[in-house]
Every structure is written in structure tokens, then in C-alpha cells.
């Protein structure tokens, strides 16, 4: 059955007043390597059908990966029965009506048809480069083809197919390690020699790291670390549900200048330089939505439920993937930190005392209202003295408000890197005037 047939089967079988069906089909393959060899190599074909049935303001959700015709009818019936059992929820204002959808092309046949031998070749190149100088490589190569369809009983019908490719590696020497990652929707744009070279540069630079006292320092972040700033700020409250429930860093900051004027953060599902998707999981169109504009905090992103709770608001096209378990609320999944004009070398050259960080590890929110986050540095942390990288240091733990960190942003690099996350992030390097480290490791 094609998506139109699956959607029609569900909508026809549903006895509910309103019905929505979301279909996600994916062919995912992933090759993992460690100790300079492939140790895990997997592929998966799956389809998931999620049905939301609405009776008045009552909503039931049922999910299955069985797309036989009789199973789809049962799925629609199950969602209906779940809705029927509930008391009304007056905050639910109904499923959205159809809107014109933009067109986005981000499908690559070579990625969709990528053979295991191609992924193995990428992994093999990185392993050989590492082994060649006595190092050990670990990492993964992913290729995926994804098809998404959203349809509802008001006439919404949105269908999109895309591809994704990602390769990441950590290369380890005897006392140091380096990291590199590339993401996109074309597997052929992943150049394993470049990734290995980047990671090995950090391995060489990081040999024999020293202890360094925790404290407050200027930091320069590689794009991998910058990505974590955006991820955690999104998690800690760029969505309207978090703001409505009073647990977002945007509470009390909307309309205020809370970050440096060089900071502009936009969510844009249509930009093909990222991993685009032209509509959200309610079939509403994506567009560029400013979250922070020249340091001023704008509005959060909305889905139809959260927009319905505030007069004058409408969905910004950010409904998250449907879940029978919990209402996650709207999420920005295509975040861009707009590039600046300062090259990484110039950031380092203008720093008297600071720390250069490759990436962050195991970051968790300590307090959401200021987006206070703790985590470790990893795979290359270096002291900068008098405009030069002086020496490598052992990983440090930080506990820092990410909002305040971006308030003290002093420079942003001119070129962004796309990194696959829950969605995708486009991030350049940044220089932050103050960043608080609270302990070090052995």
C-alpha cells in the first residue's frame, strides 16, 4: 500500500468526528566501528502509523507498525475507543485545517540506495588513517531514507521523502583523543579522509594533557560544542508548552535583549543547507521563525494545541512527532545560529587567557529557568595564552547558564557546520567572554 492508500483506509474506517493519521517509513542502516574494525553493522525497515481520533475535545492515540488493511481498521477503532473513554478537554481546539505547503527537495538516490560496502569503505578509510599513526578509531556511518505523510479528515494531506547521512569518529592516541562529525542528506559529501584528518589534528595537539584549575574563563567553542548550546536551549524551552507551564528560559525574557547583539537564532525547516522538512507532524507548513534576533528573545514555537491556548496565536509549524505516551509540545528541529565574521584563528589570536573546546559531553539541565547546564568537555580541551594555543588540558566540568553564556558572546565564526541532532543544527564556532568551570577530572 502507498501512503495515500494507508491514509484513506484509516480515515474511512474511523468513526471519530476528526481523525489524523501520521505515517513514517524508514530504511535506516548504520555501520559502527571501534578498535579500527567494524564491530556492529545493522539495517532496519519499518513503518509506523499513528492515528489520533477526536470526539468533541477528547483525543485518543493508537500506534502500530502493522499496515495490513484489517489492522488499519482496527487501529482506527482503537484510537476511537480511547477517545470515547475520556472526559472533555476544552483546551483542545481541534485538528488543523489544510494550508498551502512549500516544496523542498532534499532526497538523494545514492544515499537512499547506499550499500553496506559503501559505509564499510568510509569506516575503513578512517580506521586505516588512525592505525597508520598508531591510533585507534571508533565511530559510525549512517545512511537513511525516510518518508513521512500527514493526513487528516479536514483535508490535510502532506507527503515528503528525504535522505540523511552522518559520520562521526573519535580517534584515540595514548593520552589524547579527537573528534570529527559530518552530517547532511548526501552520503557522497562525507569525506572520510577530512574527518580523520580533523580528529587526528586534535589527537596530536592534545598529547600529554595537564591539570588546569576550574574557574571562570573566556572560551572558544568548536561547532560541536556550539551545537550543544542550541540543543539545550531548545530542550529547556524554545517551545510554547514549556513557556506556558513556566519552566522555560524564555519566561520573563521574551521581548528583552538577553544575549549579545551578534546572536541570531532561527528555526528554518525549508533551508536545504540543513536537513529540511517542509511541514510539521500536523501537516502545517514550515517557515523561518526567529527565536533570538540580534540578541533579543522573540516568541517560542507553536503547534496547534499550544496556539489554541493563547488568543491571536497560530501554529508556527512545529508540532513534534506524535507520541501515544506524552504531549511533548512543539519543538524547533532545524535551528541555525547565524554566522558572524570572525575566523577561528582570529578568535584565538585576540584571547589573552582562555580555553578552546572541541565538544561537550553528557550535558544535563541543572535548572531550566536560566538554562543552567552541567557537562564535561571532551576530545580536546586546550589552554589559550597570549593569542596562541599553549597546551592541552584534562577535561573540565562546567556548570553554566547558557543564556548568560550567549549574553557574553564576543565573536561568531563565518562558516556554519550542519550536524544531525534530534533534527538538525547549523552552527559556527563561537567565542564567549565568560564560562564557569566547576571541577576537573583525572
Amino acid at each position: 500500500m502507498n501512503f495515500r492508500q494507508i491514509a484513506d483506509s484509516v480515515l474511512k474506517a474511523s468513526a471519530a468526528q476528526e481523525t489524523e493519521v501520521v505515517i513514517m517509513a524508514q530504511d535506516d542502516s548504520l555501520t559502527r566501528f571501534a578498535n579500527n574494525s567494524i564491530h556492529q553493522n545493522v539495517t532496519e525497515s519499518n513503518v509506523q502509523v499513528t492515528v489520533r481520533s477526536v470526539i468533541d475535545t477528547r483525543v485518543g492515540t493508537a500506534v502500530s507498525n502493522d499496515i495490513r488493511s484489517e489492522s488499519l481498521s482496527r487501529l482506527a477503532q482503537r484510537a476511537y475507543e480511547l477517545a470515547k473513554l475520556q472526559p472533555p478537554n476544552p483546551e483542545f481546539k481541534g485538528l488543523p485545517l489544510p494550508q498551502p505547503l512549500p516544496s523542498v527537495a532534499a532526497f538523494d538516490q545514492a544515499t537512499a540506495e547506499c550499500a553496506p560496502e559503501t559505509r564499510a569503505a568510509v569506516a575503513g578509510t578512517i580506521c586505516r588513517e588512525a592505525a597508520g599513526i598508531g591510533c585507534i578509531a571508533a565511530g559510525s556511518v549512517t545512511t537513511a531514507a525516510v518518508r513521512v505523510c500527514v493526513a487528516n479528515s479536514h483535508g490535510v494531506f502532506a507527503e515528503y521523502q528525504t535522505t540523511a547521512a552522518d559520520c562521526s569518529t573519535v580517534i584515540m592516541g595514548s593520552t589524547s583523543s579527537g573528534w570529527a562529525q559530518a552530517s547532511g542528506w548526501k552520503v557522497n559529501e562525507i569525506i572520510p579522509e577530512e574527518l580523520a584528518g580533523e580528529a587526528l589534528t586534535k589527537v596530536r595537539l592534545g598529547t600529554e594533557p595537564k591539570d588546569f584549575p576550574p574557574g571562570e574563563y573566556t572560551v572558544i567553542l568548536d561547532p560541536y560544542a556550539t551545537a550543544n548550546l542550541l540543543e539545550m536551549l531548545a530542550f529547556d524551552g524554545m517551545g510554547a508548552l514549556a513557556v506556558q507551564e513556566g519552566r522555560s528560559w524564555m519566561n520573563t525574557r521574551s521581548g528583552r535583549k538577553a544575549m549579545a547583539g551578534i546572536v541570531t537564532i532561527v528555526d528554518d525547516g525549508l533551508d536545504v543547507s540543513g536537513l529540511p522538512m517542509p511541514f510539521d507532524f500536523e501537516g502545517m507548513p514550515k517557515r523561518a521563525v526567529p527565536i533570538v534576533e540580534s540578541g533579543v528573545v522573540m516568541d517560542p514555537v507553536y503547534d496547534s494545541f499550544t496556539a489554541g491556548r493563547e488568543p491571536g496565536k497560530s501554529s508556527t509549524g512545529h508540532a513534534s512527532p506524535p507520541s501515544p505516551a506524552v504531549r511533548y509540545g512543539p519543538l524547533p528541529m532545524n535551528l541555525f545560529l547565524r554566522p558572524g565574521s570572525t575566523e577561528l584563528n582570529d578568535m584565538i589570536r585576540t584571547t589573552k587567557l582562555g580555553i578552546y573546546i572541541t565538544r561537550f559531553w553528557y550535558t544535563r539541565t541543572v535548572h531550566p529557568r536560566d538554562a543552567v547546564v552541567t557537562g564535561m568537555t571532551r576530545d580536546g580541551t586546550f589552554v589559550i595564552r597570549d593569542g596562541e594555543i599553549a597546551y592541552p588540558i584534562k577535561s573540565l566540568r562546567f556548570t553554566q547558564s547558557y543564556v548568560e553564556a550567549l549574553h557574553d558572546a564576543e565573536a561568531i565564526g563565518p562558516r556554519a557546520r550542519v550536524l544531525r541532532s534530534g533534527g538538525a543544527l547549523s552552527v559556527p564556532p563561537v567565542k564567549l567572554g565568560k564560562f564557569r568551570f566547576t571541577s576537573s577530572t583525572r
Binding site: N41, N65, E245, V372, T374, T399
Partner: protein
């Protein structure tokens, strides 16, 4: 089912594999969540499919599909073999799986009340009562209550003659109250943050008495808004059972996973400071610290009949009298140490390969009552219920935050504290443990959200603990 498994294993054998296994899994989840007096999510999820894992020479391949037909089984098995051959182009060490695994039999979680037999009306009524109780305190902005029920039917077979069938039930849920002021937000959860969950039936949920604790949880969330912040410094810390369960998970469970030690999780989940030279040769904690991994204790989220390599459930000491003694192992990793697997290979579904995962990793009870620990502490802090957690990639440097804390002064619990955090280095921390609560206070918690592997797998693990005391701990790392 054996016709399907035989088809895959016979085909794999004909294609020249050294070893193959197949898992056929059918899982049903039911979620019921209410928030502020309304249904927030009411959902039912079913997923079925199979995965075939093959070893060709010394290279692994795995393929899976949602469509359980003879044709698809043949296609997927062939794909798995092709993938293994691609893996062989970047070869690694010789693979030795140790002794053959030929388990046969059937296991089912002991359940008094099937969680799917309780009507949704009854579940909603139960949750609405708890939800309402939390909002009796008008300072509560968001009240939430939820339950989860899981049933998994799993068939496993391998080319060595194993054939097992298991039915695993899980039940769980929890309540949470969020209080908000102009510049602060505080949350209290019960029985635990991230959900209280175990293997068992509806009785597991009822025993926790959500409704009876709801008003207290609401009151505590509101009280936290005006409570003083945990003062920074070095102090004596008494850690409650649920927070200690997560401490065990992060600083004992993960570093004893042998795949981390051998570097195969280096790029994602990280490695371990517990390298093989330390086995039977490293003081992990003080003499009263005894840690055990088991898959047999009732209600544990790591409790089952056989792991996903068909190895029977068992119990393994990890730390005895403070000495590091054992790992969580697979067949392949155990054989590298000259040992047999202790049954820790688990996959989170039909579409994922098994990885070394925690089963139930627990701190064995000590000799103290909780009241005696407090009475014996002149100056310190009692904390419980996790709010944040972070640990470095070799599991040494950690920092945790908790929902709630209480000052301890002159052997008595004092004022409420908010934004409590503490940190340290794993062996230093466990060596500073000088009192552990007795069996009366010991409780087996579930961590339903442990992430590991690529593609990411989410696994439920069990952790038993009673409250314990630690000396000279750095607390109050908060901006």
C-alpha cells in the same frame, strides 16, 4: 513460531554462517497520562517484527523487518549475511563465543493483576484523584499523573539449538507537581523522577499509593520555591534510596559494562575507568560496599528468564567488601577474559542488536536504620529524588542534582533546601561511604530510560538501594 525461526536459521547455515540467531518480538505499550485535571495523553502502541543476527567468519551482520512472512525472513537473513561480509572488509579480532548456548523453555513475569485488564475508566479515575490532590495546594501550576503498562512476547532461537519464549510484563507510573514563581520553577515527583517502573502487574502501581502521597508532593513543590538554596561546601551527605539508585546506575553499572572496557562504545556511550587490570585488584569502595548484578530479583526492570543471547538469568557480584570483582558481560566479551557470559545482552526491540546492558545492579543493604544514620550525623545534608545527572566518558567525574534536600544538624533533620547538587570522583566517593541502611529501607527501583548504542536503544534497568552516608562530599555547585 518455530517454523519462522527455523527458516531463518537454516538459510543462514546454508549461506555459511558460523552462528546465527533470530528474535521475533511483539510488544504492546499502553500510556495513560493526566495533567491539570485533563487527559494529556491516552495511547496504545503495538510493534512487531524480527531481527536476524549472523556471524560470518569473525564479522557480524544484522538485519530486521516489521513484516513477518517467510519471504521477508529469507530476504532479511540474506541481507544480514551480506552486511556481515561487508563488515569483514574492515576486520577485527577473532570472535570466540565460548560454550554453545542451548537454552530451551518458557518464562513469564509473575503477575497478580494483568495491567491491561484494568479498565481505562479505572486508571483515569485513579490518576485524576492523585492529580486533584496535588492541586489542593493552589501554588501548584502543573500537576501530572500517569501510568504505563507493557507486555512483550519474545521468541529467541539460535543455530546452537536454543529456543526460548518469554512474556515480560512491566507496570509503572508516577506523579509530579510543578510550582512556579516569577523567577523560579521547582518540581517534586513521586515515587521517583523519570517514572517508577518494574516488572510486574497492576499491583506494582497500587502498592506505591500515588493518591496518598499526592498532597504532600504538591506542598513540597510549593515550599521549595521559598526554601534556601543548598549552601556550597564540603559536607557529610546522606543520600536517599532513589537518588542512590541512579548514582549506582551511572557510577557502578555503566563502568562495569565490559563492552565499554574493550572500547566498542568509545565513540558514543564512552569507555570505563574499570580496565581489566583492575579486576580483583582495585578498591572501588569502602569495606561495607557490596554491589551485585542480577536478573532474578522480583519486580526488577532487569529481570527475565534469558538474555537476548539465550543465556539464563543469573546473579554476579561486581564489588565485594569494596573490592572490584566482576563485569556485566556478553558471550563474546566474556570469552576474552576466559569467562562465560553472565547474561547481560539485551536489545530494546526486534529492530536492534543486543548490547551489554545493566540488569539489576544494586547496593546490598547494610546494618543501619535510617533514623540511626541521621542521629549519628552532626552536620550534613540529606537529599533525594534525582533532578539532573552527568558523568564523564570514563565514569569518574560526576555531578548530580536532586529535587529536595534537608539540612542535618546535631543528629536531626532540619530545614528544606532547594537546588541541591553534589559531585565527586567515583572511587573516592564510594570509599567515603561509612553507613548503609538495612533491609528494612532497601528498595528496588527501575530506571526505564537508559540510553546506549547506535542507533540509540532505551533500556529498563533495576537498581536496589537503601539510604547511605558519604563523608566529605562537595555540594552546592550551582550558579
Amino acid at each position: 513460531m518455530d517454523e519462522f525461526t527455523s527458516r531463518a536459521l537454516n538459510l543462514a547455515t546454508m549461506k555459511g554462517v558460523r552462528y546465527a540467531d533470530i528474535r521475533i518480538i511483539d510488544t504492546r505499550h499502553q500510556f495513560v497520562n493526566v495533567k491539570n485535571g485533563h487527559v494529556d495523553a491516552l495511547g496504545d502502541q503495538e510493534s512487531q517484527g524480527f531481527g536476524v543476527r549472523v556471524l560470518v567468519g569473525d564479522a557480524w551482520g544484522f538485519a530486521s523487518s516489521a513484516y513477518l512472512t517467510y519471504t521477508e525472513i529469507e530476504r532479511v537473513t540474506s541481507v544480514a549475511v551480506a552486511i556481515a561480509k561487508a563488515s569483514a572488509t574492515v576486520p577485527g579480532e577473532k570472535v570466540d563465543l565460548g560454550s554453545p548456548v542451548q537454552s530451551r523453555g518458557r518464562y513469564a513475569t509473575p503477575v497478580r493483576i494483568d495491567p491491561f485488564s484494568i479498565s481505562l475508566d479505572d486508571k483515569l479515575s485513579f490518576l485524576f484523584r492523585a492529580d486533584q490532590e496535588m492541586r489542593r495546594n493552589r501554588g501548584v501550576k502543573v500537576s501530572e499523573a500517569g501510568t504505563i503498562a507493557v507486555r512483550q512476547e519474545k521468541t529467541f532461537a539460535n543455530t546452537e539449538g536454543a529456543f526460548t519464549a518469554q512474556t515480560i510484563f512491566e507496570s509503572g507510573g508516577g506523579i509530579a507537581a510543578t510550582a512556579v514563581s516569577e523567577h523560579d520553577v521547582q518540581i517534586r515527583s513521586y515515587p521517583n523522577s523519570f517514572r517508577y517502573q518494574g516488572t510486574g502487574g497492576w499491583e506494582y502501581i497500587v502498592n506505591a499509593d500515588f493518591v496518598g502521597n499526592a498532597a504532600r508532593i504538591g506542598d513540597e513543590a510549593v515550599a521549595l520555591l521559598t526554601a534556601p538554596v543548598c549552601p556550597p561546601g564540603e559536607t557529610t551527605l546522606v543520600i536517599g534510596s532513589s537518588q542512590l539508585a541512579l548514582q549506582i546506575h551511572e557510577s557502578c553499572g555503566h563502568p562495569t559494562e565490559l563492552d565499554r572496557v574493550f572500547g566498542t562504545e568509545a565513540a558514543f556511550a564512552g569507555r570505563s575507568f574499570l580496565t581489566t587490570d583492575k579486576k580483583d585488584n582495585f578498591r572501588y569502595g569502602s569495606e561495607i560496599v557490596n554491589l551485585t548484578a542480577d536478573s532474578v530479583r522480583a519486580t526488577g526492570l532487569g529481570t527475565f528468564g534469558w538474555d537476548d543471547e539465550g543465556v539464563p538469568a543469573s546473579s554476579t557480584p561486581l564489588v565485594r567488601n569494596g573490592e572490584f570483582t566482576g563485569y556485566l558481560m556478553s558471550r563474546e566479551t566474556a570469552s576474552r577474559l576466559g569467562l562465560e557470559s553472565n547474561g547481560c545482552m539485551r536489545a530494546d526491540g526486534w529492530n536492534r542488536i543486543p548490547l551489554i546492558r545493566m540488569t539489576n545492579v544494586s547496593l546490598e543493604p547494610g546494618a543501619w536504620t535510617f533514623d540511626d544514620i541521621i542521629a549519628d550525623t552532626d552536620d550534613g545534608i540529606f537529599i533525594d529524588t534525582n533532578r539532573s545527572w552527568s558523568i564523564d566518558d570514563i565514569r569518574l567525574n560526576f555531578q548530580f542534582g536532586t529535587e529536595v534536600g534537608y539540612e542535618i544538624k546535631n543528629g536531626k533533620l532540619g530545614c528544606l533546601l532547594k537546588n541541591c547538587t553534589y559531585g565527586g570522583i567515583t572511587p573516592d566517593f564510594w570509599n567515603s561511604c561509612d553507613a548503609i541502611g538495612n533491609e528494612q529501607h532497601w528498595r528496588l527501583w527501575g530506571t526505564p530510560n537508559c540510553g546506549k548504542g547506535e542507533p540509540m536503544q532505551t533500556m529498563g534497568t533495576g537498581h536496589g538501594a537503601s539510604p547511605a552516608r558519604f563523608r566529605n562530599v562537595k555540594v552546592g555547585v550551582f550558579q
